[in-house]
């Protein structure tokens, strides 16, 4: 059945063997004779997570739409599979043709979260590919990476040959086309890198060398070649209607995290929350037209057979024609007997009218993301939701008979005090009061989930200079809230592991020295760091010790405006001056309005057109 003859023998021994078999509906298989280059899209987490990622579906089909390019997939094998693969000497292989990754021309990792970096390394190793760029001689495939985390590429800068900053739909194809030409002329790998260095969005770390002072503080990035670009500017798609969107999705056999067809209706967000990286890197906002969305929906339903359809964006309600769009899609879905889900919808009167008809919401309940417990702190982070919005929303929902509410908050935000934590408790109390006023005693089934995450400063945001809380401070805050919520009925309180967030911060703001730590940590057994059962913080600390780096410098230290940031040579469009002014406004607790109501001069329009 495959080029790996012992695969069939080991599959019966592993959990969910369908993770490794490929052959799903709409998966693409091309013959060797038809193609000129082979790309493997690598997702550094398990199948169920990677397959839920819309970006993978888009980029996979975009590349495969080119006749002479073949894009295959690979995911991180789960523990049981990895052990057997290592025992039986089975190298990491692509799902489509079960070809060892080593035989690909290019392997592209998507970096969706920092905690998957150790998996990138582990996957390269499972593929028998040397980890460091300079160990990979001419015969090895090129290793590239993209996704939001690529906007601070430095922590993987010695492992990844080149990064793609921004949106990959067209730039991936351009790179592959150049690759095919390069391959035909038989020049060195370096010459290929030189050639693509002029493509917008391509960053090649080996063309730059970080400079440190005597305390190992980063003080500059030196170009090693005259022709290397001073700064690398991100690449984005212009018009979303013209951008590639697949008419079919790969439909998995097994249940995955988001098992449904999805249409992206809007890219980017104009609200300007100061902690949010997505809001910066996807600027400016672009919309897909209602007609185009309808057309895509039609095709997707027909080609996937999915029983559920979902709209995707950072903020569904910000879509300018949301009412006509939702009405038309609801009708279409009703006719086809499939359900429509509308995530990240703001709760105005229109939404309630719609949501009441959408089954899935009744089951899973309402969600709000105030992110902070007081209006003061919400001004600091520039989150525009008010308490009125939440309470009105809750009241409307309870009147419709729903009883499940989920609220998201961040802990450890800049300037946070215990008053702000009390604010979270007060919001929960008020919601309970509202519920009690509406529902009579007999049918009280209220369930409130307070889900908190730990604030982690992200590159290219207004808070990029700000430290995260140290681990003790965060833990006491969790403790404090736990105690309060323990005494309250109807509430489930969730929080994230502080050590995991600490590592996330280090990897998010790290510089090139982190590469060595990553390799050390991986050697001592670190992988799947985002999975509680695998995460081993002691090993990470050991790795930092061995390399002689204080991780706190990256996570818990406040940086100055004139410090050189590890990502200063990356241009996301939004200027540093704007981020500084936003950071200042945060301290002044001043709100910056949504830029749809008037340009606030973030600088992205220097390079891209804002509509």
């Amino acid at each position: 059945m495959s080029k790996l003859n012992n695969l069939e023998k080991i599959l019966p021994k592993v959990e969910k063997p369908a993770r490794y078999i490929g052959g799903e509906i709409n998966a693409v298989v091309k013959k060797d004779a038809e193609i000129k280059a082979r790309f493997v899209f690598a997702f550094p987490d398990i199948y169920e997570i990677g397959m839920s990622h819309l970006g993978m579906q888009i980029l996979y089909h975009a590349l495969n739409a080119e006749n002479d390019i073949f894009c295959e997939r690979v995911f991180a094998p789960a523990q049981d599979m990895e052990s057997i693969m290592r025992e039986e000497n089975i190298p990491l292989f692509s799902l489509e043709t079960k070809t060892p990754l080593m035989d690909a021309d290019m392997i592209g990792f998507t970096l969706q979260y920092e905690l998957s970096y150790s998996n990138v390394i582990n996957m390269l190793n499972l593929a028998n590919i040397p980890l460091m760029c300079d160990e990979r001689k001419e015969a090895f495939p090129f290793i590239c990476a993209g996704g939001p985390c690529a906007f601070n590429p430095e922590p993987l800068g010695e492992i990844i040959d080149f990064f793609i900053l921004g949106e990959g739909e067209t730039v991936n194809i351009e790179i592959m086309k150049r690759y095919i030409l390069w391959k035909e002329t038989g020049r060195t790998k370096f010459e290929f890198l030189k050639e693509i260095s002029c493509i917008q969005g391509v960053y090649i770390p080996s063309l730059y060398k970080p400079r440190y002072d005597e305390h190992m503080k980063l003080i500059g990035m030196d170009k090693l070649y005259e022709w290397a670009p001073e700064k690398v500017t991100k690449k984005i798609e212009g018009d979303l209607d013209a951008a590639f969107f697949p008419e079919k999705f790969i439909v998995p056999f097994i249940d995955i995290v988001h098992n449904r067809a999805m249409v992206e209706i809007l890219r980017g967000c104009t609200r300007g929350c100061r902690f949010c990286q997505a809001g910066v890197i996807y600027r400016p906002v672009r919309e897909r037209s209602v007609e185009k969305i309808e057309e895509i929906t039609h095709q997707l339903i027909k080609n996937t057979g999915y029983e559920e359809m979902s709209l995707l964006s950072l903020s569904t309600s910000d879509y300018s024609k949301i009412e006509p769009l939702v009405s038309s899609l609801m009708e279409k879905c009703r006719n086809e007997n499939i359900s429509l889900s509308l995530p990240s919808l703001r709760l105005d009167s229109f939404s309630f009218k719609v949501l009441d008809e959408v089954q899935s919401v009744k089951k899973s309940g309402l969600t709000f993301a105030p992110e902070a417990g007081t209006q003061r702190l919400r001004n600091v982070i520039n989150k525009s939701i008010t308490e009125e919005d939440i309470f009105n929303g809750a009241e409307n929902a309870f009147k419709l008979g729903w009883g499940t509410i989920k609220l998201y908050f961040m802990i450890g935000l800049p300037t946070e005090t215990y008053d702000d934590l009390d604010g979270i408790v007060n919001i929960a109390k008020r919601i309970i009061d509202i519920y009690y006023k509406i529902q009579d005693k007999k049918n009280r089934k209220l369930k409130i989930t307070i889900s908190t995450s730990n604030f982690v400063p992200k590159p290219h945001t207004a808070f990029q200079w700000f430290p995260m809380d140290d681990m003790e401070t965060l833990s006491s805050k969790h403790q404090y809230l736990s105690e309060k919520f323990k005494k309250m009925k109807h509430i489930t309180f969730n929080y994230n592991d502080v050590r995991t967030s600490f590592l996330e911060a280090v990897l998010a703001r790290g510089d090139r020295r982190v590469n060595e730590v990553l390799i050390k940590a991986w050697k001592s057994g670190c992988k799947f760091d985002g999975w509680r059962e695998h995460f081993d913080f002691d090993k990470w600390q050991q790795a930092f010790n061995d390399v002689g780096i204080d991780p706190g410098v990256f996570s818990c230290e406040k940086w100055d405006y004139d410090d050189v940031l590890p990502w200063d040579h990356i241009d996301v469009g939004v200027t540093k001056e704007y981020l500084i002014s936003e950071n200042e406004k945060a301290y002044e607790e001043t709100f910056t309005d949504d830029c749809r109501n008037g340009c606030t001069d973030c600088g992205v329009n220097r390079i891209f057109e804002c509509k």
């Binding site: 059945m1 023998k9 599959l11 019966p12 021994k13 063997p17 369908a18 078999i21 490929g22 052959g23 799903e24 509906i25 439909v251 056999f253 097994i254 249940d255 339903i301 027909k302 080609n303 996937t304 057979g305 999915y306 029983e307 086809e336 007997n337 499939i338």
Partner: protein, 234 residues
């Protein structure tokens, strides 16, 4: 409402798809083929599609059966070809016919299943293998150890009454195929892997359980004390 009986294969990599995943694979395939199937009423409607007897993950089949209720009447051949156009490799509809008579559900009909079980063996004469099989069958009781998934306990069962046939049907180049017909369904069920485990334990032949390939070839119901293959259902 029109009820159809489907016969289909589940081979190659598709043997690694679980029963539940196979159901959703079919549900989506019907939608892709633009054939509307019926759903149960209620809060979470499920499709009126049922498979005669679940196949364990790792076992292939040349002959599975399911019944599906469809909104509009169509030619069996048309449904068959429309589905085959949109099914993954390894799942093929072999037959599709409308069931006119009202019958018990397919699941309730199942009494026996036939399997081809093949494995590698070395240095054993065919006669010896046949003799070993005969010895195995001649035992009055064959006690197998069954792990109870739910209670995590171990139960001893006599599987001899569940074995209707167990014979060597092919032996060449070190690969032996045993054809077994065993009790299947709600009136007594023997799983072919347990059968092979007992056989390996009772005989002294070395067979690597990981190398055994099992293929279901037919399901049977019983009428007037006769075993009748599902393929003859009208």
């Amino acid at each position: 409402m029109y009820k159809y009986l489907f016969q289909f294969t589940k081979t190659d990599y598709m043997k690694f798809i679980s029963h539940l995943d196979l159901m959703s694979t079919f549900e989506r395939a019907f939608r892709r083929a633009d054939i509307k199937i019926l759903y149960s009423q209620g809060f979470s409607p499920h499709p009126k599609l049922s498979i005669a007897h679940p196949l364990s993950v790792g076992i292939s089949s040349t002959s599975e059966y399911m019944e599906v209720e469809i909104e509009e009447r169509k030619e069996g051949l048309e449904i068959l070809s429309r589905l085959n156009d949109v099914l993954p490799e390894g799942i093929r509809i072999l037959n599709c016919k409308e069931m006119i008579e009202k019958k018990k559900s397919l699941a309730a009909l199942v009494e026996y299943a036939a399997y081809d079980i093949s494995f590698h063996i070395e240095d054993i004469e065919q006669d010896v293998l046949i003799k070993t099989i005969e010895d195995f069958l001649s035992e009055i009781e064959i006690i197998a150890i069954k792990k109870q998934m739910k209670t995590h306990t171990i139960k001893q069962v006599d599987i001899r009454p569940f074995i209707d046939a167990f014979e060597l049907t092919k032996y060449s180049q070190g690969v032996a195929t045993i054809t077994a017909i065993i009790k299947t369904g709600s009136n007594g069920n023997l799983n072919p892997e347990l059968l092979m485990q007992s056989f390996i334990e009772s005989s002294e032949i070395k067979i690597d359980p990981n190398e055994i390939k099992i293929m279901r070839t037919e399901l049977y119901f019983v009428k007037e004390n006769k075993r009748i293959p599902f393929s003859s259902i009208n």
